[in-house]
Amino acid sequence: MTQSLEAFERAGSFQLAGEAEGEALVFSHPLSFWGGVEAETGEIIDHSHPGLGRNVAGRILVMPSGRGSSSSSSVLAEAIRRGTAPAGILLERPDPILAVGAIVAEFLYGISMPLVVCDIAGIVSGDRVVIGVGDNGGAVVRRA
């Protein structure tokens, strides 16, 4: 995939607030962390997912929504603890399971992995994406 050159900036809302910057990893299919991501490495292990074999660690994970078992909360929290989680996650729709995992990890380890609900159209894998906090406390997502 080629990186789009046009810069953008758009507003979003935080499910968990924080700042992050990283290379976008964009999926049109939701990824379940439970059974989908190896918490020890961040590697995608879901054989039915197009991202199989790629790694979410340190990336800005972009997908329409979360998916699957509530055990994904534990896997995300464990990945954040181990430093194998994405740097931040952008979703089109809020996800209760990922929100719980992110909040628990912040509560326990003081690590804030921003979880943002925003328009994800036009973001492609490889884009350098920055998540910041706006003046009103909302999320600001921009391509660097």
Partner: protein, 416 residues
């Protein structure tokens, strides 16, 4: 619409009830916002599926709540853990794993949870009543509470079940609300399919779970069950192959006296017919071996064996008298086990190979001594998960066939 909190909710969030309640409320608020709830509601009980050790984050969370002086605000039962605390030494685990796994069970008790360690809290004195609002984890318990009892819970899981217990609150959304409990999809059971043995209920459950998605299913034409254990088996199977949290069985379950009541006066969005052949096919998929395969063990009681099920099993054991030393593991709640011991019901039963297991389950931890050969079970849920979880080869059958097979040492099915 935004989530509205009561003064009490807000005070909890602001730390008025201590740091643990504040943390639990913060997580609950974020969850409630994500599911689009407008408010929280009071719950009268909780069931926590948090005692199986899956990693450090899970234990750290409970430890932090303990350190913050947290206590559960409603009667709270615990699901199975990784150990049988009643029968020490039964579970084989490395020390590095054993220490945190044991601590996880104990830490929950320090929060004021009850030491039930059962996946069937509906068999304990904490069983909820019709219409009660509760927050339960564990898929079979959730579907039983909603469907068979008519209590109200969503599918709660990791961390959030405990946050509900710590605050006594749950988001007012989903199956807590009457309108969302209406049937959406109709399963019509073929007349010819009626043979009201245990397998029929398992088979229907497997099919309903697979075809259902997350819409509330209504089953018509199901024969009257012998007891609630047959509905337990149906629900557990449906929550194994699918995400079923509530089913209605017309003329059987409490919110489905009639088809019309089950659908709350509306029409089904879809109708699916279940034929005998569909059930046979679904059940056949649970068995990886043909009749005659050599047997390593029997595992019963997933979900946990009820007292009534024991009362069917024990006479069967005496009658068939299996004497080959093939272990017959039976998972059950510690309260049920205590009652059986008090009644003297288990005296002498070890001669037939009976090994009761409490507090845990034979498919989540290493209990089975010998995995060399087939393990037979009458549980659709065990048959589905055990091959992946503990690497066994499974044959599914009626309980009577399991016991007869133990007596001859290989798989036999079709007992008269």
């Amino acid at each position: 619409m935004a989530l509205e909190l009561t003064t009490h909710d807000q005070s909890m969030l602001d730390g008025g009830q201590g740091p643990s309640a504040a943390a639990a409320m913060k997580i609950l608020v974020a969850f409630s916002n994500a599911v689009g709830a407008n408010s929280l509601l009071d719950i009268s009980g909780a069931h926590i599926d948090g005692c199986l050790y899956h990693g450090k984050a899970g234990l750290d969370f409970v430890e932090r709540l303990v350190e913050g002086g947290g206590r559960v605000q409603v009667p709270t039962t615990l699901n199975v853990g990784s150990f049988d605390l009643i029968h020490p030494g039964m579970v084989k685990m490395q020390v590095a794993e054993e220490v945190p796994a044991r601590r996880l069970m104990k830490a929950h008790l320090e929060l004021g949870c009850q030491a039930t360690f059962t996946c069937a809290p509906y068999q304990t004195r904490f069983r909820p009543q019709f219409g009660e609002q509760i927050a339960w984890g564990e898929s079979n318990a959730i579907v039983f509470a909603n469907s068979v009892i008519g209590a109200r819970t969503n599918r709660y899981g990791d961390f959030i079940d405990l946050c509900c217990a710590m605050t006594g609150r749950a988001p007012a959304w989903g199956l807590h609300l009457s309108e969302n409990r209406r049937g959406r999809i109709l399963f019509e059971l073929d007349e010819a399919a009626h043979e009201p043995n245990d397998s029929l209920f398992v088979g229907v459950g497997l099919i309903v779970g697979q075809a259902n998605g997350d819409r509330v299913p209504v089953i018509a034409g199901l024969p009257q069950p012998r007891d609630e254990d047959q509905l337990k088996a149906l629900g557990a199977a449906s929550a194994t192959t699918g995400a079923v949290a509530l089913f209605h069985a017309v003329g059987i379950t409490p919110e489905a006296a009639t088809l019309d009541q089950a659908f709350q006066g509306r029409a089904p969005e879809e109708t699916i017919r279940i034929k005998r052949a569909d059930i046979d096919q679904a059940l056949a998929r649970l068995s990886a071996v043909p009749d005659g395969a050599p047997l390593a063990a029997i595992s019963l009681g997933t979900p946990h064996f009820s007292h009534e099920e024991w009362m069917r099993l024990l006479p069967m054991l005496r009658e068939v008298a299996p004497g080959r030393g093939i272990p017959i593991y039976v998972n059950t709640g510690r309260a049920t086990l205590t009652r059986l011991r008090d009644e003297g019901a288990l005296d002498g039963m070890e001669a037939f190979g009976l090994i009761p297991v409490a507090d845990t389950c034979t498919y989540v931890t290493s209990i089975l001594e010998n995995l060399d050969g087939v393990v037979m079970t009458n549980s659709g849920k065990w048959a589905h998960y055990a091959p992946g979880n503990i690497g066994v080869t499974v044959a599914f059958a009626e309980m009577k066939d399991c016991i007869r097979s133990a007596a001859v040492g290989h798989v036999v099915r079709g007992a008269a």
